[in-house]
């Protein structure tokens, strides 16, 4: 079949139909081994607690056949696209330049569209809720981007700071009756404090070790939230968290509410719209601060740290403060997002702060291209939107999520949208003649 294929004739390697078939056959054989018991036999605890099983050889056969066919298709695609196989060689340059022009206008267009979402979809509560969710993840992504994307510190426990923010607001408001606007900065400060607390011990760790320690830290926070029942309410969480107010004016029906003050009829949508703009403002604040910080010496230091820690130290950059500020800044935004989450839900429990959540935010940052603000926003939109689209396939979506993460790492390890190169770099290498640097010549 593939011997008559036009692509196979100009390939430099002798890849024939026999080779492809052999490879596909081997893949199918491996798949048969892998899935024989896991798919072919289904176990379930029966009525009396005794385990029962039944066979599903039909599913097994179709899966193995799918692997066989898929393997052939992958091999053919590899022939077609050449050994490099990337999409980059596939897209003509004219289209690429067109894409880059579109990319320049994409961010403002998206921003304007986001501002208009509550106006366009005023009557569609579902879309507004989804928009709030997406924006929450955009904010989390931008927050984590400071740690992972700019400073290059792989943080697998980011959700811990989200939890600290959420519980700070939840507990301060229900126990002491503090308002959202007082608690918001407090939540940020507390989360930043925890960020520093985590940052100190892990200063010496690098790469993978750092990732595991942050993961352990995130799990410890979650376990403490579950088990410290006197304060956190344990698995039952904190409920009855007050809704946000417009600087003291509640968004409630009746006297003193915003609707009554403005003389318009009350609608529950007002609160949703308010929440939408609130999280949009918080997310934009995160974005603005990050962009500004990137131009300050500390931001430059973060990027330098990401590129090469040893060189950084050799150049006299203080690694301690650089890492700690990255952790603190990222954690602070996580704390803000957590406080917002608490006020939106009105209820928080440790279940919302699992490792899966950390991995999701990390995936958003990585897929978006580490360090790229626009990429993170697009990735959040794609991931959360995608999750909503496949809502009916609840159990499969995490499976697909994991697969997508692996495939994207293989295909474009620097992210789909593209990653941000260091803001400053030498345009060209200059050679300095030796008499300029000789002693006595400065």
């Amino acid at each position: 079949m593939s011997a008559s294929h036009p692509a196979s004739s100009n390939g430099s390697e002798p890849v024939g139909a026999a080779f492809i078939l052999k490879k596909a056959f081997l893949s199918a054989l491996v798949a048969l081994g892998l899935f024989s018991l896991m798919i072919g036999v289904r176990t379930e605890a029966g009525q009396s607690g005794q385990l029962e099983y039944w066979t599903r050889f039909g599913d097994l056969a179709s899966l193995v056949a799918a692997v066989f066919v898929g393997s052939i298709i992958v091999e053919l695609l590899r022939l077609w696209l050449g050994p490099r196989g990337g999409l980059g060689s596939f897209v003509p340059p004219s289209v690429q330049s067109g894409l880059s022009i579109a990319g320049r206008y994409l961010a403002p267009a998206l921003l304007i569209f986001t501002f208009l979402v509550p106006v366009i979809f005023y009557n569609q509560r579902y879309i507004l809720d989804l928009g709030i969710l997406v924006l929450t993840y955009v904010m989390l992504g931008w927050g984590l981007n400071v740690v992972v994307g700019l400073a290059g510190l792989l943080d697998l426990g980011y959700v811990a700071f989200y939890a600290v923010g959420a519980y700070s607001y939840g507990l301060l408001s229900t126990t002491f009756g503090l308002s959202f606007w007082i608690c918001l900065p407090l939540a940020g400060i507390l989360a930043a404090f925890w960020g520093v607390l985590l940052g100190f011990p892990v200063l010496r760790l690098r790469g993978d070790y750092l990732a595991i320690v942050t993961l352990a830290f995130g799990e410890i926070i979650r376990l403490v939230l579950i088990n410290w029942q006197d304060v956190t309410g344990g698995p039952n969480g904190v409920s009855g968290i007050p809704r946000p107010t417009l600087f003291g004016i509640p968004l409630t029906p009746g006297e003193g509410g915003l609707a009554a003050m403005l003389g318009i009829p009350f609608s529950p949508t007002h609160r949703i719209v308010f929440l939408f703009y609130l999280i949009l403002a918080l997310a934009l604040l995160t974005n603005w601060v990050t962009i500004r910080l990137r131009r300050l010496p500390i931001g430059r230091a973060w990027e330098a740290l990401r590129e090469d820690e040893v060189a950084c130290r050799a150049l006299g950059i203080n690694i301690t403060t650089t890492k700690l500020t990255a952790f603190a800044t990222g954690a602070m935004f996580g704390g803000f997002a957590g406080a917002f989450f608490a006020t939106r839900q009105g209820f928080i429990s440790p279940e919302s702060f699992t490792f899966q959540e950390s991995a999701l935010v990390l995936a958003i940052v990585v897929l978006g291209g580490m360090g790229s603000q626009l990429g993170v926003a697009l990735a959040a939109l794609a991931m959360i939107g995608g999750f909503e689209l496949f809502r009916s396939l609840e159990v499969y979506r995490m499976l697909v999520f994991g697969l997508a993460m692996v495939l994207i790492m293989i295909w474009r390890p620097r992210g789909i949208v593209g990653h941000r190169a260091p803001t400053v770099f030498l345009e060209k290498s200059k050679s300095i003649s030796s008499d300029l640097v000789k002693e006595g010549h400065g």
Binding site: V41, L154, R204, A216, Y396, I410
Partner: protein
């Protein structure tokens, strides 16, 4: 004293299981230099395969327990090893020269794939099995009526672990494959120049690690009598802690670390609080990494520029 002795036995058994998983982490880290985040889930898959093959064997009328256990052990090791091989082939090999966070992220993705694959294919509910190996010995009976017991299953777990460790030590120190593995650990380029098939050696490392994780999964199934799709996550982190505690890259260290973590967890649960036993294990990980990054038996890592 009796209570202490009983906890000691329990802790050693739990530690054997952790140690078996930890070897997989430490071997892979030693050779490829990455944390195989999906290894805990490979352990979980091993438990599931042991469960299913056990069920099938019983239903076709096999009754001799030692025969069943042996067949289940071999099947679980073989199929789980295939999982280890496939994971390395699909998710790690293409990334070997990628940027430094890529293999870790790919491994996290793979961990999600395995967890959700077993949830989708086998359901989310806990799978209980009736006790397979029953009975035991009473070692000591105290005046207060507290009995120190050593059950047969505990003996099975410890003996299997010891036998496998012996086999494994022989493999690493005496065979061609073991020599290749040690060569790759020191310098992959040089090893390749001297005729070692690096790709094959790395594959075999994953295969052996997965096979040992399968044994751990089966022992877990026999000892606790249940498996579920989420058990790999926490067990994986604890085994990783064990590997770090023992000194990552060191094989005896992994076993030693496993025993230490098993004992610490058991004693913590017995004398302090069950709720915080995972917190204790995770805290140890953090403390060890901060104050003793090379672990008990590890060599200090030389920073290369």
């Amino acid at each position: 004293m009796d209570y202490f002795a009983q906890q000691l036995i329990n802790g050693l058994v739990l530690g054997s299981i952790y140690g078996l998983i930890a070897i997989g982490y430490t071997m892979v880290y030693g050779i490829v230099g990455m944390i195989n985040f999906a290894h805990g889930d490979v352990f979980m898959i091993g438990g599931f395969i042991a469960l299913i093959s056990f069920l099938v064997l019983v239903s076709i009328g096999l009754t001799a327990v030692p025969v069943i256990l042996l067949i289940v052990l071999l099947v679980a090791m073989a199929i789980t090893a295939l999982y280890g091989w496939t994971i390395e082939r699909i998710a790690y090999r293409p990334l070997r020269h990628s940027f430094r966070l890529a293999p870790m992220l790919s491994a996290i993705g793979m961990s999600f794939v395995l967890t959700n694959f077993s949830q989708v294919s086998q359901g989310a509910r806990v799978k209980p099995v009736p006790p397979i190996v029953t009975g035991g010995y009473t070692l000591h009976e105290g005046e207060s009526g507290f009995v120190v017991q050593l059950s047969n299953i505990q003996i099975v777990v410890v003996i299997t672990t010891i036998v496998l460790l012996g086999l494994f030590t022989w493999l690493v120190s005496r065979t061609r494959l073991g020599r290749d593995m040690r060569a790759c650990e020191q310098d992959q380029t040089m090893a390749a120049l001297l005729g070692v098939d690096v790709d094959r050696t790395i594959s075999m490392t994953f295969v052996i690690g997965a096979a040992l994780a399968a044994v751990a999964g089966m022992m877990y199934l026999l000892y606790y009598g249940l498996v579920d799709f989420f058990m790999g996550f926490v067990a994986g982190i604890k085994a990783f802690t064990a590997a770090v505690l023992g000194g990552i890259g060191s094989l005896p260290g992994a076993m030693l670390g496993g025993l230490a973590i098993g004992l610490i967890e058991t004693f913590w649960s017995a004398y302090f609080s069950v709720e915080y036993k995972d917190v204790a294990a995770f805290s140890i990980l953090i403390v060890v990494l901060i104050f003793m990054p090379t672990g008990l038996l590890g060599r200090p890592e030389v920073e290369k520029v």
